[in-house]
């Protein structure tokens, strides 16, 4: 595989393909490299900085998996699933219930992923598909209804009090050259990276993954080659729900407790990351999610006036608004053709 092909496959299309440019441009790549260098230099100079960077990456990889879930659905149906966070929260409660019944953490983890997948497919088939042709507004309102519904059901079954789950990675801590890293953070990073890689392999190299991409890009053309587009969209919802479950399950060890509101801020950060990445670009969503996690974590320490934790969400909102105004196509998105 040549370097060009590699870039092409990663979605960095300016370097990969000759005529169509859909990915990150050279300035954006330069910005990313500069950011990475900044983090590396900072980490070498201060161990606190290094620790914040690592935990920021861990935080960010949670945002990234939820952002990726949003992007999967957006690419397939041009709609944002506002219930994505609550779906993730609900499935995390299911995992909690499994551990209460005596399953080990990881057995509960994988069982939950399967349940989330089925639930995602069911949601798409039962409530999204019937309104999909009507309007974006109709789908948005249905997902908001789902948000409220899931919230209510979780409150009903499990109540509003925080719940505690076993820690998946234990409480041990590593010291590498004066830098302290918790195993929870490292485990969070590892699991989310593994999830993203597995998904990427699936979409890139399997027939089903290819058919799903084709359905998202050109449904009419996909139908003509025999792809069952409606089922592919439903599978997309299934994968998104499973990814959301991963982000929910990874949020829990970071917050130490389970509560019905736990995914609401994460959803906003994930929205910000998805928009920053261009809303259509999976690579963009992952990189932006991680970058946002690190940025907010560092801001909490070195932000001066902005380091108040009450300002984390408003800062994320400001980032989102800024991106939408300056570069609505995001860092990795296709430039939208504005017709007016």
């Amino acid at each position: 595989m040549s370097v060009y092909e590699l870039f092409g496959r990663l979605g960095i299309r300016d370097l990969g393909a000759r005529r169509i440019s859909t990915g990150a441009s050279v300035p954006v790549l330069a910005l990313l490299v500069a950011g990475a260098v900044f983090l590396a230099v900072g980490s070498l100079m201060s161990s606190t900085f290094a620790e914040l960077t690592v935990s920021g990456v861990a935080q960010g990889s949670v945002f990234a998996s939820l952002a990726l879930a949003l992007v999967l659905i957006y690419r397939a149906t041009e709609v944002v699933n506002f219930a994505q966070g609550e779906m993730a929260m609900g499935t995390t409660y299911i995992a909690y219930q499994f551990t209460v019944w005596g399953l080990s953490y990881w057995a509960a983890f994988f069982a939950t992923l399967a349940i989330a997948f089925v639930a995602g497919v069911a949601v798409q088939q039962l409530v999204i598909r019937p309104v999909q042709r009507k309007s974006v507004l109709a789908v948005v309102i249905v997902t908001i209804g789902l948000l409220s519904l899931i919230d209510g059901v979780v409150l009903w079954i499990w109540g509003g009090d925080p719940k505690f789950m076993p820690a998946p990675f234990g409480n041990s801590v590593y010291h590498v050259g004066g830098v302290t890293m918790s195993l929870t953070d490292l485990g969070t990073i590892a699991v989310s990276i593994a999830t993203v890689v597995v998904l990427w392999l699936f979409f890139q190299f399997t027939k089903l993954g290819l058919a799903m991409r084709a359905s998202a890009l050109r449904p009419a053309a996909a139908r003509l080659v025999g792809v069952r587009v409606n089922w592919m969209l439903a599978l997309g919802w299934g994968f998104a729900a499973a990814l959301g479950a991963v982000s929910g399950l990874l949020t829990e060890p970071n917050q130490f407790v389970l509560s019905p509101t736990m995914m609401q801020p994460i959803l906003i950060y994930a929205f910000a990351a998805a928009v920053l990445g261009g809303l259509e670009s999976p690579v963009g969503a992952v990189i932006s999610g991680i970058a946002l996690g690190v940025f907010l974590n560092l801001l909490g320490q070195y932000g001066g006036y902005l380091k108040d934790s009450a300002l984390r969400l408003p800062v994320a909102f400001a980032v989102l608004l800024l991106v939408l105004l300056v570069k609505p196509s995001g860092l990795f998105g296709r430039a939208a053709v504005r017709k007016v």
């Binding site: 957006y74 041009e78 709609v79 944002v80 506002f82 409530v127 019937p130 309104v131 009507k134 974006v136 507004l137 109709a138 948005v140 309102i141 249905v142 908001i144 209804g145 789902l146 948000l147 409220s148 519904l149 899931i150 919230d151 209510g152 059901v153 979780v154 409150l155 009903w156 109540g159 509003g160 609401q264 801020p265 906003i268 929205f271 910000a272 928009v275 809303l279 108040d308 009450a310 300002l311 984390r312 969400l313 408003p314 994320a316 909102f317 989102l320 608004l321 939408l324 105004l325 609505p328 017709k339 007016v340």
Partner: protein, 326 residues
């Protein structure tokens, strides 16, 4: 002409009913009726931007918070007359709406929905940051208390005034421009409708309505403005109310408002839902919205319209002459 007279008659009848209603209600039910009025105002406002102009906003709770805190701060710190704070809320929320709407006019569809959602989540956080003015999590209380009847009267008076304002705005040239933007931005722009102007205007007006609704909301919540009262769910409920009402119609708004305001009571008394100790309200709201979108995509207004059409078709078939529609 006859249609306008008919509508005037309906309005007059509604006004008489609303004027007499408080004398048959207990104090708490008067507050409940006042809550219907404030949701009526908020949904009316959202309808202007979402139903008529086609811009999805999930952030109207933020403008309600702005209006609510305006009333609370002016009253608590400056002892301003409560009624005098209402036009002030209108003006400040209008200003904020324009400030948000100007950049937001570049966005549409899902992007605008995301930006407004983020706004709705951020505003309550900002009240924590500026705790000197807002009293942080404890909130801030208005100076003095208001009576139930006073609340009822003021709320419905505001609702009536703003309903007329909305009607005047939407019936003429501006309303046509809004609908043109909703139906096709490209066509609107090429016919000389300024997208920036009308999208921003719609956003400002609707934010102003939300601001007044927010002031009344604070007065109806024992005069307390608290960040938790203005959570994201407030924005969602307004949107849910608008969807239930049927977007793009003024007449369904009352039904949507009643649904949102009475939701806690409905969920406490409805069979099945009643037996759910916590979360029943969220379940009821979610179920209703999903079912309405699946079964009645045009909301209550669409249902009424279809029933009217069916009735007139029935009358025509049985040979009874009907009034001209127009």
């Amino acid at each position: 002409m006859r249609a306008i007279l008919g509508r005037l008659a309906i309005c007059a009848a509604a006004a008489v009913v609303l004027a007499l209603l408080p004398f048959t209600l207990s104090g708490l039910n008067q507050v409940l009726a006042a809550r219907v009025a404030l949701y009526f105002i908020a949904i009316l406002g959202l309808n202007i931007v979402t139903g008529y102009t086609g811009q999805i906003s999930i952030g109207h709770g933020a403008f309600m918070a702005i209006g609510g805190y305006t009333t609370a701060i002016m009253s608590a710190d400056h002892h301003t007359n409560l009624i005098a704070t209402l036009p002030l809320s209108f003006a400040i929320a209008f200003g904020c709406g324009v400030v948000v709407g100007l950049p937001a006019s570049r966005l549409s569809g899902v992007y605008l929905a995301l930006a407004t959602l983020a706004l709705a989540v951020s505003i309550p956080q900002l009240t924590l940051k500026f705790s000197h003015f807002t009293g942080a999590r404890n909130g801030i209380s208005v100076d003095g208390t208001v009576g139930y009847l006073w609340l009822y009267g003021v709320s419905w008076a505001c609702a009536a005034i703003l309903f007329v304002v909305a009607w005047l705005v939407l019936r003429g040239r501006t309303g046509r421009a809004f609908r043109a933007v909703r139906d096709s931005e490209v066509a609107a722009a090429s016919s000389g409708v300024s997208l920036v102007l009308y999208k921003t205007l719609a956003f400002g007006i609707s934010a102003a309505f939300a601001g007044v609704a927010g002031s009344l909301f604070v007065l109806a919540t024992n005069g307390y403005a608290q960040p938790d009262e203005f959570s994201i769910f407030l924005s969602l409920y307004i949107l849910i109310g608008a969807a239930v009402a049927g977007l793009g119609s003024l007449w369904g708004v009352m039904g949507g408002a009643a649904f949102v305001a009475l939701l806690p009571n409905i969920s406490q008394s409805a069979p099945l839902i009643r037996s759910i100790p916590v979360g029943g309200q969220d379940i009821a709201a979610g179920l209703v919205v999903v079912l309405v979108m699946l079964l009645l995509p045009t909301g209550l207004a669409g249902l009424l319209q279809r029933m009217a059409l069916a009735a007139s078709a029935l009358r025509r078939r049985s040979g009874i002459p009907t009034a001209e529609r127009g």
